[in-house]
């Protein structure tokens, strides 16, 4: 009996595996067939609606898929809370740092083609970085002011791998540190500039940390975007379009939304929660030159879900091969090893390392959210969140424009989504 049961489970499992491997798009499946409790999924909808009612969220979409099928896809609240237009499933969101995984996949495509190497110094592709120095606080016990800085030669050159795992020594202007202050004061984002100009500007500033010494969130993926341009000979978006977005049918994913027909689909924040690090959310309707690999994209729930399903499928979707399975495995493995968190906020969180473009869960415990070992995830500054769970063949995309709510939903969503996965062996 046990053996028959096992054989049956084996057949079902094989069927499921075949189904996910082929993954002809994302269709809907009954939640229970995919291991979810409809009732418990309903609790998530209730929570989202209640947060809209309380004006914590303007509106949101949430998509959960498992084994290549959508178990849950809801939109709640307002697309534009001021105009009182309702949220739709095809709403377009500023995804900020959720641009990073896309730029990282673009870089891995070039690595697969033998045109780019993780171990190479960044300066091989961007010579501006050849003379970059590291700013080290000058110890001066007699001074009461902030420490001065010594500019020292890096212990080793920053590499492409460093850019992808945020160990290059770069930082962000919004951190409270002497080099972050230099980022802000140097007018890094002044005027209408492109990636080439951005790299010229940032390479003139010192590194905040020794390359490889620690994980520090940074503009590294913006620099990586320029590397992709130099190596591919195309603009970052052109390359991403040809190699990722068009093959995956991500037709609503771009750096600017200039098409008037799409502009009415752009989600807007509540007036009370419309700023990221003091700046109002940008207007993606106005075209610009900068294609910021680390922060510049807009996308929809379904577009991003297709991107995530491609990764869960080992690099392929609808018979379109983006990456090979081993490359996805390399990207979604921990690359920090013994490299510790730096002095800035360790956004991956406890129990979690960092791969090539994603945080990667190292341990079942220690982390303060529910999830599986091997989960990889990231979020965007306007509150968007995603994760892939390879062991459960599950993806989750949450879209919202509510910057202050990102950290809260990063915890709430895994806790409530895993709470609804009542039959994980299905």
């Amino acid at each position: 009996m046990m053996r028959t049961l096992r054989a049956c489970c084996g057949v079902i499992l094989t069927l499921i595996l075949i189904r996910s491997a082929l993954a002809q798009g994302l269709d809907f499946g009954p939640p229970e067939d995919l291991g979810f409790s409809t009732e418990r999924l309903g609790r998530i909808t209730d929570m989202l609606k209640s947060d809209v009612d309380k004006s914590v969220l303007p509106g949101a979409t949430l998509l959960i898929a498992r084994h290549g099928r959508i178990a849950y896809f809801e939109s709640v609240g307002w697309l534009d809370p001021t105009a009182k237009t309702p949220m739709t499933k095809d709403a377009i969101f500023r995804i900020f740092s959720m641009s990073k995984p896309i730029a990282s996949v673009a870089a891995m495509i070039l690595i697969e083609e033998g045109k780019l190497f993780l171990g190479d110094p960044v300066a091989k592709y961007l010579p501006q970085f050849a003379g970059v120095k590291v700013a080290v606080p000058k110890a001066d016990p007699t001074s009461l002011g902030p420490p001065g800085l010594d500019l020292v030669t890096p212990n080793r050159a920053m590499t492409i791998q460093d850019l992808m795992r945020h160990t290059a020594g770069l930082t962000y202007g919004f951190f409270n540190s002497p080099v972050a202050k230099m980022y802000v004061e140097s007018g890094l984002f002044g005027g209408d500039f492109d990636n080439a100009e951005f790299v010229n500007r940032i390479a003139k500033l010192p590194l905040a940390f020794q390359p490889g010494s620690s994980w520090n969130y940074s503009n590294a993926t913006d620099v990586l975007g320029r590397v992709v341009e130099v190596v591919s000979g195309k603009s970052l978006f052109q390359f991403e379009k040809e190699r990722i977005l068009e093959p995956l049918g991500m037709s609503d994913t771009s750096f600017y939304v200039t098409e008037p027909a799409k502009q009415t689909r752009i989600a807007e924040p509540l007036a009370s929660d419309s700023r990221v690090f003091g700046f109002p959310l940008f207007n993606p309707r106005t075209g610009g030159k900068w294609e910021a690999g680390g922060q510049g994209m807009e996308s929809t729930t379904m577009d991003y879900a297709r991107f995530l399903q491609m990764l869960l499928n080992g690099g392929t979707m609808d018979d379109k091969r983006i990456l090979a399975p081993a490359t996805v495995a390399l990207m979604t493995a921990d690359h920090l090893g013994k490299i510790p968190p730096g002095p800035t906020l360790y956004i991956p969180g406890p129990g979690t390392g960092f791969g090539l473009g994603f945080a990667v869960r190292r341990e079942q415990g220690v982390a303060n959210i529910s999830g599986s070992v091997g989960n990889y995830f990231w979020g965007g500054a306007a509150g968007t969140v995603f994760w892939n769970d390879p062991s459960q063949q599950m993806l989750v995309v949450f879209m919202v424009q509510a910057p202050s709510q990102g950290p809260h939903y990063t915890q709430l969503l895994p806790d409530m989504v895993y709470a609804a996965l009542t039959d994980p062996d299905k």
Partner: protein, 408 residues
């Protein structure tokens, strides 16, 4: 046993999980590198589940003579000799004639008096530090030789003991392996045994240990135990057979030197059989050797090692022993087994690959890896020393990119 019957034969790449289009990208890249003058020529063989999915020869065997590369070309494999010597040692371990935990001195008595050169700190001196010659903290063992933790070094490293090696003229004249080991043991160790991983002449010494333990020359023992049973008929320390001389690959100037010395002429007979660097081989010969390892020690019903011994060799043997001050060739995310670098982590490494992969390469640009998880290997042959480091990332990245159906 099915594994024993696995003899390399050609197959469609799709049958064994590879994308033909993506394999073709590798051929295109290699041809481009030949056109650009990065490589004179090369052969690349990829086999999975015992079947050859890809075997191509590109460019020139001898660019100066415009002789095209052929699949049966013979290459100087330098440090890819080390895994062959290491397997030779393990055959003796299996036969109870050699013990990994024994001091090297049990087989080579000169090691009894070898001291460790420890720099003497002298802040007042502007000169390079002098040395204290101290007895080793523990005697270096046969296992240390196999995993490069014996404290030995190479003369091409910029270090004080590296300089002593250079000044000692280790390679002068036509020397025997025994004489080489005598010259080497007249020098101090550069590091304490077991203190760190440092690439070194250890495998040359191991070759001599094999000679002492087997009572035969290294090549004679390898021939009986490995080379003949596996049909590696083009693998040797020099190419004695004149009929084969036309098959020897040549490097193209200016990339025809290693550590400032032009690549040697393997047609010239020599006395030494240097287990760490001296061999010539072909892609298919080396492929048979690798398939034997992937098969768990057997090929074409010829048993070379037991599966347990292969598993033991290809496990990490460094544990908490860290990289020493010299370049850590295994690469980040890797440890070292008995004769191979062994991948410890899925990430951290700078190229694609599976946990448990074992790999090594040769100074003239050759490289290989075995992936036990995915049951495949790749062997790449060229004579272009300057290209080695780039190629050891490029090849795994592009080969794994072509393995689109790893579950097949």
């Amino acid at each position: 046993m099915a594994e024993a019957a696995r003899v390399l034969e050609e197959a469609n790449p799709e049958q064994v999980g590879f994308s033909r289009d993506r394999l073709n990208r590798i051929t295109d890249e290699l041809r481009r590198e030949v056109d650009q003058g990065l490589l004179p020529g090369a052969t690349l063989l990829i086999a999975r589940h015992g079947k050859i999915a890809y075997f191509e020869a590109v460019g020139f065997r001898d660019k100066a003579a415009q002789a095209p590369m052929t699949k049966d070309t013979i290459f100087r494999i330098f440090s890819m000799s080390k895994p062959v010597t290491s397997v030779a040692a393990m055959t003796l371990v299996e036969q109870g004639k050699l013990y990994l935990e024994y001091p090297i001195a049990a087989y080579i008595p000169q090691f009894t008096q070898v001291k460790v050169a420890v720099p003497r700190p002298d802040p007042s001196s502007l000169m390079p530090p002098a040395f204290d010659m101290l007895p080793p903290a523990r005697p270096p063992t046969v296992q240390d030789l196999l995993r490069h933790t014996a404290g030995l070094t190479y003369g091409f490293f910029e270090s004080p003991v590296g300089k002593l090696y250079r000044d000692a003229n280790l390679y002068a004249g036509d020397f025997t392996t025994a004489e080489f080991v005598e010259r080497l043991t007249a020098q101090p160790l550069a590091y304490q045994p077991g203190a760190g991983w440092n690439y070194s002449h250890a495998t040359d010494v191991l070759g001599r240990v094999v000679e002492v333990a087997s009572g035969k020359s290294l090549f004679q023992w390898e021939k009986e135990q490995i080379v003949d049973p596996l049909g590696m008929s083009d693998t040797s320390f020099f190419v004695a057979d004149k009929a084969k001389h036309g098959r020897i690959a040549e490097a193209a100037a200016p990339d025809n030197q290693f550590a400032g010395v032009p690549l040697y002429d393997p047609r010239v007979p020599i006395k030494s059989e240097m287990g760490g660097q001296g061999m010539q081989s072909t892609a298919i010969d080396y492929a048979r050797f690798l398939q034997m390892l992937l098969n768990g020690g057997v090929y074409n019903d010829n048993l070379v090692l037991s599966p347990e011994t292969v598993a033991y060799m290809t496990a990490d043997h460094l544990g908490l022993i860290g990289p020493g001050p010299t370049m850590y060739f295994p690469g980040s995310g890797h440890g070292f087994g008995l004769g191979f670098a062994v991948r410890r982590a899925q990430g951290e490494a700078v190229h694609a690959g599976s946990v448990g992969n074992f790999h090594w390469s040769g100074a003239a640009g050759t490289s290989f890896w075995c992936d036990p998880k995915r049951d495949f290997f790749a062997v790449f042959m060229t004579q272009a020393p300057m290209q080695l480091f780039r190629l050891t990332s490029l090849l795994p990245n592009m080969v794994y990119a072509a393995l689109t159906e790893p579950e097949k």
